[in-house]
Symmetry: C2
Subunit: 469 residues, 2 copies
């Protein structure tokens, strides 16, 4: 790997890079929780400093009052650019995010989520892999290249979002508003995973996402289960029945019309995905589960990558404290996250879900449905030149041709590609065991180091990309 | 009512009684929450003072180290006696409890639960009706009679429990251990309701109760819903399916064998219960619900009084905070309260429930079932002389013959009657709208005043009860 452009820079800089990442990870930038709004703002300032130190210009934090028609709780995004390659050179936009997921259940963390800890080459902290580590991977590649060479063969733009973990509610507004400044020929996203450290891969897709918070009220207040139980409606039971009705006995989502627009894989796609190794025992071990379930007639890999799914992410009703409270609960809350695949649309699925839900709610029950963000699914053709360029960079670093995968996750990438009219490619170095969104999130440092090298190679290679392709 | 023994005493004492009750209600004696153990102890001391001030002797707090084989968290009971009527006179044991239910959801209270407030003749506070108000009703009757007359025609014992609201886990041990000291000819319980202020009634039964906390774990930790969702088990969905399976489409509990020992009502019992007025609209309004449901082919009154029921009292899984967390929850908690009627037994139903539950849990899911107390159902024959004596006392105060009802609630009364070998009678002055176990618990003060008068009449009348009946 000594012939890689950033090999020397990386060896000299590892300690500093790790220390910088740890400093960033100490900022609990949880965008879902309004109590952490100040931390998200501090994280944006930190990120802006990284961009400036990398040699980017016009670094700016795009604040709540700049975009967002609803004006509510916009987490700050960070922008920076280096346009020294000139008009004839291609432009690359790098996307990532600096906000992180909530950390509960806190008692399942083996070390405090915002006190980064390195153990056996793994960096443990919320945000280590999703996504601060992968953003720093990109800024360090730029810092290294500009430091070593003084210039890049591409014009470069960074857009690091601050509300990805809450479904990017204002991101499309931001893209529309900043469309000119953000204009690009190719988009590079670093927020995904590879199959394994020795099986490099790049994803071609992200699933869409549409989420709901459903609040139910069956009575004015909780009622004594002895005096009223057995004949008044029970909000916990109603919520349980609704949640249990979301799938049929074959693991299919029961919302009428849910699968109508799902595009089946072509034979070529099926072959390409079939070559990704899948070890069910290893998969179960990484997930920490004893068995798998889901849509009948589909493999676990299809279920998480190419099929739409609906998960109950939260279910709360009645008493949850110590001991027993003999009540009939009056209120319940259900949170549902639906993942979409081409050609489903968030708007249509949201409407279908609301209709399905209404049919499950008896008259007289108060119901409040709050939509929580929505993004469309994305799929980049595997024969796109930018994808092929990315594959070359990965192959040079990992010394193996990358496989093509489908990511089951969701992000604002579809809006990025659609609004900016550019192909979206994925240089992601997370691993399946990195506990994205879960306790004990981690980053394998060897993946970070290789990712910096690959990000550097990619920027150099993209200089040869024919503009307009 | 001027000819009632305590009429004058009551008129002189109302202000003091109300002030005393408010002082007691300011002590948050929540037995379900270990954080309130000190408050439960303070409440016991307060109660002991009330017994002494009423003229009872040998007042004693029965502490954790005195009973309870498991030694865990026993809340203190209070005992006191007046044995001046001599060996030939009947002995009456008065039972109540000084612990209270938890108060959440706190935001549904119109005034703080432990800051008693009188509004339009209603005393608002946790414990006002269940059961401090009704205990004070009994101590004031004794205080009044001993103060006015210097003696009673019966020997009298008070046993005021401190862990009724957590299912009386140590109460039967206490009864067994103190069987001699507690020996009695009749038991008077004040912890129930009447049909309406102008429709006095006395209950003949309490339902039994067996409760469970079911903890499920489907994975080592929460998982990213995009990367893993759709193929790993979801604890929220499993909990929902289990809860939703607890009843069939006809509202019957699906636990096999659940109804096998349920005694159907005799024709006479059916007639007696049928004469209790029931207004469904009024019932719904008191409950604050828009509709009724439950076991098909049974009236709401039967469902809550004479049929066994199973309620999910708590259901918690996954994320419950603001916004969305896109996880597959790894853990879930279900709390279930099952009410029993003659001749079901808590032990048998507990075993049937565990068998049913096990059949609903896939292999590899960790499950922990914690039983939370259990009491058997109780039924006192309506033609028992003590019941007839009680009816006479109620009729003299309310100027109407009381109806006979069945209480859907549960308590340790069955153990009281069984261990002490005495009939259990119910002088309860709560009302259906008093919000037992719910926010805005209240006591109608007119019911308290009448209850004091009736408790006094009853003690005088019981002097003529033939011992051994």
């Amino acid at each position: 790997m000594d012939d890689l452009a950033l090999a020397g820079y990386l060896e000299r800089s590892k300690d500093r890079i790790l220390a910088t990442l740890c400093d960033w990870l100490r900022i609990p930038s949880i965008s879902a929780d309004p109590a952490h709004a100040g931390d998200v703002a501090n994280s944006a300032e930190f990120c802006a400093r990284l961009l400036r130190e990398a040699g980017l210009h016009e670094v700016e934090i795009i604040r709540a009052d700049a975009v967002g028609a609803d004006g509510a709780g916009l987490a700050p995004a960070v922008y920076g650019e280096w346009l020294g390659a000139g008009d004839g050179a291609p432009t690359v936009l790098v996307y990532g995010h600096h906000d992180v997921q909530p950390v509960d259940p806190l008692d399942e963390w083996t070390s405090p989520p915002f006190e980064p800890l390195v153990v056996n080459g793994l960096l443990l902290a919320r945000g280590s892999c999703d996504d601060k580590g992968q953003v720093l991977m990109q800024t360090e590649a730029v810092r290294g290249l500009l430091g070593e060479m003084g210039a890049l063969p591409v014009n470069l733009k960074f857009l690091i979002e601050g509300e990805e973990e809450v479904g990017s509610p204002h991101f499309e507004d931001l893209l529309e508003r900043e469309r000119e400044r953000l204009a690009t020929d190719v988009i590079v996203v670093s927020d995904t995973t590879m199959v394994a450290p020795d099986i490099p891969s790049t994803t071609l897709s992200m699933r869409g996402l549409v989420c709901f918070d459903v609040a139910l009220r069956t009575a004015k207040s909780d009622l004594h289960s002895g005096l009223w139980g057995g004949t008044v409606p029970n909000a916990a039971l109603l919520a349980a029945r609704i949640a249990a009705s979301l799938h049929d006995g074959l693991g299919r989502v029961t919302v009428p019309g849910f699968y109508d627009r799902v595009r089946e894989l072509s034979d070529e796609e099926t072959r390409s995905l079939g070559s990704v190794p899948f070890d069910e025992a290893e998969f179960c071990s990484q997930a920490g589960v004893a068995y798998l379930e889901g849509e009948a007639g589909r493999t676990p890999y299809e279920r998480t990558g190419t099929r739409p799914t609906a998960e109950v992410t939260g279910l709360h009703a009645g008493y949850g404290g110590p001991g027993m409270k003999t009540i009939v609960p009056a209120t319940a809350n259900i949170k549902v996250a639906i993942r979409l695949v081409p050609d489903q649309s968030p708007e249509e699925i949201a409407a279908l879900f609301r209709t399905w839900l209404a049919a499950h709610i008896p008259e007289g029950v108060e119901v409040t449905v709050t939509p929580l963000g929505g993004v469309a699914p994305l799929l980049t053709p595997l024969d796109h030149p930018a994808v092929q360029t990315l594959c070359g960079a990965i192959e040079r670093v990992w010394d193996k041709k990358p496989l093509f995968t489908r990511s089951g996750g969701s992000g604002p990438e579809e809006a990025l590609g659609r609004v900016l009219g550019a192909p979206v490619t994925f240089l992601g170095v997370g691993l399946p065991g990195d506990n994205f969104h879960a306790p004990n999130e981690r980053l394998e440092l060897d993946q970070l180091w290789r990712g910096i090298l690959a990000a550097g190679e990619l920027l150099l290679d993209l200089g040869t990309l024919k503009v307009g392709q």
